[in-house]
Symmetry: C2
């Protein structure tokens, strides 16, 4: 069995919002993503959990923004419109169902 080194995976992240899979937990994904710049507003048909490993990002919601630093997380419940919006290189773990569908929303 092989251990997973987040720093090794993070060093491969060069393109924003192009996640690398960390592992599958049954039918759930854990992936690592480089958040940098504004992602489009969207919502999902399931919950999504963000956990910042390195850097700092805003998670913009309708009417508020939440700043997440290292080892801070946010559970974005099913149906809630959101977008990551990061001014600098930020590495986050994301947990969600493999079957998760996204719906884009005009910003």
């Amino acid at each position: 069995m092989e251990k997973i080194k987040l720093s090794q995976l993070a060093s491969k992240l060069t393109k924003p919002y192009t996640p690398i899979e960390v592992c599958n937990i049954d039918d759930y994904h854990c992936y690592l993503s480089l958040l940098q710049g504004e992602y489009p507003f969207h919502k999902h048909d399931g919950d999504e959990f963000f956990l910042v490993i390195e850097g700092e990002t805003e998670i913009d919601l309708e009417g508020e923004s939440i700043t997440l630093g290292k080892h801070e997380g946010l559970l974005v419940p099913k149906g809630v419109v959101h977008r990551p919006n990061s001014k600098r290189r930020t590495i986050a773990l994301i947990f969600e169902s493999k079957a998760l569908a996204s719906h884009w929303v005009e910003g």
Copy 2:
């Protein structure tokens, strides 16, 4: 919506192997646990993902031990006998199904 601060939750962890819930992602748990000392050998009917946030632990398997340091993780697949075994205060995130059942195994 409230952000989750792992350091704040970790400061509440005083008793080994008595996890605190971080959040639910649909029907999955994310919790934070203090790994310290030997936990009994066991296996689950689903996958379990360990991610060390602070400290260092062994995950003992049948015939091998894997050392996990900060930001290192291990996916323990369904049915695999394992136990955390940590000589010092180690904080880990754990992801698993809420419906996960454990089966104890003689060490």
